[in-house]
């Protein structure tokens, strides 16, 4: 999406690396943080986030908005997000194309939606409401899934593209999630990318997963594996240079190892774009 700047190749900031932010040695293009982790009255995390934004641009990534849910949107939660935006001035805000709450209880998971016209219209309505309330366009991210519904009437990429068009929002393309879901449900990850509107892709996520034997699990506890790097190269080929972020949430390695993943993304992007220029 041309409206968003290419922030470069960043990392998800998690507590093990807070000391590197505090002492100013966390050198990276940009940070993404989980918005809910900062919806707290005070304490060290908020101070770290203040420091982080003096080092690099920060993006807020939400996990509990329940955009695809059938409960009313949690306006108090939106209010807290609004306050965070006001205080930390993120470069942008993203959420997930999924549901995660029912009857006002939260699963703290990214649960899959049926890909139907009903769900599409429902989610798009809610995204429009959120965008109006926040006064800004948001990005929505595709999630990894372990099941699909028999009453879905379209493939996931058509659903994602349809929601983004209907809500006039951006897309946070998680390349690892595309790969995990493609393997779990037997579709082509390249067909997925081909089905997306290039002008709406505002950000890319990269991460590692694990193999449970019968299916892949979106664990974010490994380096980015080579098929995901290949898919990233394909995404850069199709969509051009896009702000990219490496997520790592469990068994988090040293800061340098994380940054090395972001640097690898930068190198792949440069290589793909160089080759594309030579062809042109």
């Amino acid at each position: 999406m041309s409206l968003l700047p290419h922030l470069g190749h960043g990392i998800g900031l998690r507590p093990p690396h807070y000391p590197r932010v505090a002492d100013g040695t966390a050198r990276v293009d940009w940070f993404e943080v989980i918005a809910e982790n900062f919806m707290i009255p005070g304490g060290r995390p908020l101070r770290v986030l203040e420091q982080a934004r003096t080092l690099a641009p920060v993006v807020l990534h939400g996990v509990s908005m329940n955009l695809g849910g059938s409960d009313p949107l949690n306006e108090r939660h939106l209010g807290e997000l609004e306050r965070l935006i006001g205080r930390f001035e993120p470069a942008w805000v993203s959420e997930h194309l999924c549901w995660g709450a029912y009857g006002r209880y939260y699963a703290h998971d990214l649960l899959p939606l049926p890909y139907t016209d009903e769900a599409l219209a429902h989610v798009a309505d809610r995204i429009r409401h959120v965008q109006e309330r926040l006064g800004r366009r948001i990005l929505i991210e595709n999630v990894s899934s372990y099941l699909t519904f028999t009453h879905s009437t379209m493939p996931e990429w058509t659903f994602l593209a349809g929601v983004a068009e209907a809500a006039d929002c951006g897309i946070l393309l998680d390349v690892n999630n595309v790969y995990v879901s493609a393997m779990n449900h037997g579709f082509s990850p390249h067909a997925y990318l081909a089905g997306l509107p290039p002008d709406r892709i505002g950000q890319i996520h990269l991460a590692g997963h694990s193999d449970a034997g019968t299916h892949l699990v979106d664990t974010h506890d490994h380096p980015v594996p080579s098929p995901v790097w290949d898919l990233y190269a394909d995404a850069v080929r199709r969509f051009g240079p896009i702000a990219t972020l490496v997520e790592w949430d469990d068994r988090i390695p040293a800061f340098e190892e994380l940054v090395a993943e972001a640097e690898r993304a930068r190198a792949i992007e440069a290589e793909v774009l160089g080759a594309r220029r030579q062809l042109a």
Partner: protein, 256 residues
């Protein structure tokens, strides 16, 4: 089968996660695609297992000493029962364990000191992200005119809790064997220091009473009543020593 509405699908899906373990409504199983390696129930089971293990992990992180004391198996069993009664009500998972100590306290099959240890651990979670305050500096104390003391309010920071227990749970927290401990009325102050880390320390009965009074908004002269058996001068000296200690620890926010 008629196509279920989004709300109906989500209700049944939610029940399969948070309801009785492993129970999947037939309509839900029919609504999920069975693949070559995994049937629809197995696919739903991936989500149900992830739901339980993620939230139990959160509880284990918030109550590490309780988990160690009970052992993995017992802790997991109790955590599952807790989750069945207290599903998460907040978008942030931070609040998940708020009812854990009262839940353990109500159980006749859990020793009381385990519930009290849970109170201590939860107080540590609470002070970690309580509202910020700039703590009072020692210089402020020295600058006070002696005549002003009685009416001053020493206002504690928000990141401070008093935990009352019938066992010395701070010793359990430090790894003591419960078999070697005896019940003892205990008050523990829990606070956050300037670096953002949580600390706790036991208080003797008088100090606990003074701190309780300060938290309740009492002026210095009322807080002195914890020492009515001493001369006013001795009481003032004892409380000044306590205040100096607490100011050093950063738990007094201001003088009002």
């Amino acid at each position: 089968m008629p196509v279920a509405s989004l709300r109906e699908v989500q209700k049944r899906f939610w029940d399969s996660l948070a309801g009785a373990a492993g129970i999947v409504a037939p309509e839900l199983a029919d609504a999920v695609v069975s693949g070559t390696t995994l049937g629809s129930r197995a696919r739903l089971g991936i989500y149900a297992d992830a739901y339980a293990s993620r939230l139990i992990d959160v509880l284990r992180e918030d109550f590490p000493r309780v988990a160690a004391l009970l052992g993995d198996h017992r802790f997991e069993h109790l955590a599952r029962e807790y989750l069945a009664r207290h599903p998460s009500e907040h978008p942030s998972v931070r609040h998940l364990g708020h009812g854990m100590a009262p839940f353990l306290e109500r159980r006749s099959d859990v020793p009381r000191f385990v519930a009290e240890l849970a109170s201590l651990e939860w107080a540590r979670v609470e002070v970690f992200d309580a509202p910020d305050a700039t703590p009072l500096a020692m210089d402020h104390l020295r600058a006070i005119d002696a005549r002003d003391w009685p009416h001053l309010h020493f206002v504690p920071v928000s990141a401070l809790r008093l935990v009352r227990a019938s066992w010395p749970v701070h010793e359990l927290w430090a790894g003591a064997d419960p078999a070697r401990l005896a019940p003892a009325t205990t008050v523990i102050r829990v606070w956050r220091d300037a670096s953002g880390a949580a600390y706790h320390a036991p208080l003797d009965a008088r100090a606990a009473e003074v701190l309780r009074l300060l938290i309740a908004g009492a002026p210095f002269v009322i807080a002195c009543e914890a020492f009515t058996d001493r001369t006013p001068l001795e009481a003032a000296q004892a409380i000044t020593a306590l205040l100096a200690r607490w100011i050093e620890d950063g738990i007094i926010a201001r003088i009002g």
